[in-house]
C-alpha cells in the first residue's frame, strides 16, 4: 500500500505577493518573446529607436559650430556655406522652435510606429491574456494559489505594460538618450525634454487605454479566435468607421484608435509648432510660412473632449467586463 517518498520538505517562507505578480509578468513575456512574430516586432521597434537616435545624432552634430555639415557645405562654395551657417545659427537662436519642433516631430512620428507595433503585438497576445486561461481552466490554478483575481489582473496588466515598454517606450527613451549623449550643448537636452514628456504622456494614456481594453476583450470569451477577431474589429473596423468624415462624433469616440489619434495631435501640438515656426523663423519665405501655418491648422485636434470622454468610457466598460468575468468556472 505505501510507497517510500523520497522527498525533501520545502519549509522556506514563501515570497510575497509582489514576487508572485512579477512571476506572472515575466513568464508571460518570456512565452511571448519565444514567438517568431514577436521577435520581428521587437526588431522593427528597436530599428525605429536606432533610426530616431540617428536622426537626433545627425541633427545635434550638424548644427554644432564647426561641425561636419558646415565643413561639408564649404566644399560647395561660399553661398551654400552661408546658407548652412544661417540654418545652424537659427537652431542656436530659436532652440525652442527648432530643437523642440524637431524632437516633437520625431516623437510624433515614433508614436505611430510604437503604437502600431504595440497594437499588432496585442493582437497576438490577446488570446493569451485571459481568454486562454478561461478556456483551459488555468484561472482556477491561479486563484487556488495565494493570489487574488486582483493579483492575476495586475500580472496580466504587467504583461501589457512590458509589451509597450519593449516596443514603444524603450526604443523612444533609447533614441532620445543616444541623441543626447553626443549633443554639443545642454540646449538640446532642455528643449527636447518637453517633447519627450509629451511623448511619455501620450505613451501613458495609450498604455492605460490599451491595457484595459485588451484585458476587457480578452476576458469576454473563451474562444481565442473569436477574441482575436473582436479585438481586430474594435481596433480596425471601428477605426475605419471613425475615419469617415460623416460619422457622428459619438460613434467616432467609440473607436480607441480615433480617440488616440486626436489625443496625440492635442498632446504633441504640431499645429502650434508649425504656426510658430512659420511666423517666427526669418529664413522662411512667405509661401513656405503660409504652407506651414495651413499644415499646422490641419494638424489640430478636432474634438478632444469627445476623444477623452470616449477613451474614459471604453476604459470603464472594459474594467467592468474583466472584473465581472474573472471568476473560475
Amino acid at each position: 500500500m505505501e510507497t517510500p517518498l523520497d522527498l525533501r520538505r520545502w519549509q522556506e517562507k514563501p515570497a510575497g505577493v509582489a514576487y508572485r505578480r512579477w512571476v506572472i509578468v515575466t513568464t508571460g513575456l518570456r512565452q511571448l518573446t519565444r514567438m517568431r512574430i514577436f521577435q520581428i516586432l521587437l526588431f522593427l521597434a528597436w530599428t525605429a529607436g536606432v533610426l530616431m537616435a540617428a536622426v537626433g545624432f545627425i541633427f545635434t552634430q550638424s548644427v554644432a559650430s564647426g561641425g561636419w555639415l558646415e565643413s561639408w557645405a564649404a566644399d560647395f562654395g561660399p553661398r551654400v556655406h552661408a546658407i548652412v551657417s544661417a540654418v545652424c545659427s537659427l537652431v542656436l537662436l530659436y532652440p525652442d522652435i527648432c530643437i523642440h519642433g524637431l524632437f516633437s516631430t520625431v516623437f510624433w512620428w515614433h508614436s505611430f510606429v510604437g503604437l502600431g507595433l504595440s497594437l499588432v503585438a496585442l493582437s497576438i497576445v490577446m488570446p493569451r491574456l485571459i481568454a486562454r486561461d478561461r478556456a483551459s481552466n488555468a484561472l482556477t490554478i491561479y486563484l487556488s494559489r495565494p493570489l487574488t483575481s486582483f493579483d492575476y489582473l495586475v500580472g496580466k496588466l504587467g504583461i501589457i505594460v512590458g509589451i509597450l515598454l519593449l516596443l514603444w517606450t524603450g526604443p523612444l527613451l533609447f533614441g532620445w538618450l543616444l541623441s543626447m549623449a553626443f549633443a554639443p550643448n545642454s540646449d538640446f537636452f532642455v528643449y527636447s525634454l518637453t517633447a519627450l514628456l509629451h511623448a511619455g504622456l501620450f505613451n501613458l494614456i495609450a498604455l492605460v487605454t490599451l491595457a484595459t481594453v485588451a484585458l476587457g476583450v480578452s476576458s469576454l470569451g473563451k474562444n481565442t479566435r473569436s477574441v482575436m477577431m473582436l479585438w481586430i474589429g474594435i481596433w480596425i473596423i471601428a477605426g475605419a468607421i471613425a475615419s469617415i468624415p460623416t460619422t457622428p462624433s459619438a460613434i467616432r469616440a467609440a473607436s480607441f484608435s480615433h480617440d488616440l489619434f486626436e489625443i496625440r495631435q492635442n498632446i504633441f501640438r504640431l499645429d502650434e509648432i508649425l504656426v510658430k515656426a512659420g511666423e517666427t523663423l526669418p529664413i522662411i519665405n512667405r509661401d513656405v510660412a503660409r504652407t506651414m501655418i495651413q499644415a499646422g491648422e490641419h494638424a489640430q485636434s478636432h474634438d478632444i473632449a469627445s476623444a477623452y470622454a470616449g477613451l474614459a468610457g471604453l476604459v470603464i466598460v472594459s474594467s467592468l467586463v474583466f472584473s465581472r468575468k474573472l471568476r473560475p468556472e
Binding site: 515570497a15 490554478i141 494559489r145
Partner: protein
Amino acid sequence: MRDVIIEARGLGKTYGSQRALADVNIAVPPGTIGLLGPNGAGKTTFIKCLLNLETPTTGTATVLGCEIRAQNRASRERVGYSPEQDCHIPGMAGCEYVTYCGQLSGMSFQRARQRAHEILDLVGMGQERYRSVDTYSTGMKQRVKLAQALVHDPELVILDEPTNGLDASGRESILQLIGSLWKQLGVSVMISSHLLHDIERICDRVIIIADGRVIEHESMEVLKNRHRRIVELTPSGEPERFISVLKNAGLPVERLSNGHLRVETPSESAEPILSLMRQHNLPPAEIVANPNALHELFLQSLAASKTPQNGNAA
C-alpha cells in the same frame, strides 16, 4: 501539529434560488479525508468555498488556522488543489508548468525547478515532462495536475477526482502516493471521489455530503463498526446446503446473482461462520468480511438524509 485543519461555521452558498451548500458546520482533523456525495451534492462547492474560489453566501471557515475571507491569500499558502477538470496553461511544457505553479506559491525559480523535477519523478512522469502539456494524454494531465498541487509542499492537499482517466497501474501508483502523503510526510489530504473503493483504501476519515449538507463525518473505523456486519461467501459446491445451514443457524442469507451468498452476522469477524461451515463440512471457496461497507454506508446515509423526519432534504 494542528488539531483541526478545516473548520466551517454555518458555511452556505446559494446560486440565485438554488442552494448548493447549507449551514455546514464541521471541524476536520488532519489525516486522509474522503469527501463523498452524489453528483450535485455540493462537494465541489464546499471545496471551492474553502479555497475562496466561490464566495460563501453565509458563514465562514478556517483552513489551516487562517480565516478564508479575512486572510484570503494566507489561507491558501500551504494548500494544494487539483481540480476535477483539466486546468493546464497552454503552450507550457510539463516541468515548466509545475515550476511556474511553484513560483506562483512563492518559491524561488531555482527551488521551484528543483522541486518540480522531484515531484514529477514522484508522480511517474518521465521525459514527457519536457513536452507541451497540450499534447498530454488524460492520464499524464492527471499526473501533472497532482504535481502542481504538491510542488510547494502544502500542509493540505485537496484533490477532486484525482484518478479520473488513469489506467489501472497508473491509478494504483497514484493511490499509493496519495495514501503515503499523510503517513510519511504528514501532508493532510482531502480527496473527493466517486470511487468509494479508492476512498475506503486510502482514507482514515469520511465526510458525506448530500443536498448541500454534511450528513456524515466520522473516522472510517467508527463507520465500519456501525455498519451491519456482512460476510460474503462463495460456496465451493452445494449452495442450497450452504443456505439451509446458515438459515438454520438463524443468520439472514441472500443469494446474489453471481452465485455468492451474502450473510448478515452479529460478529465483527467471519470466524463464527467459518467454524459453522467446518462443523457441517462445507468449506467455502472464498469468504470476505464487510465487502462494500462504505458503499452501503453511503447509500444508507443518503437514504437517511432524504427521510422527512431528518429534515435535511431539500
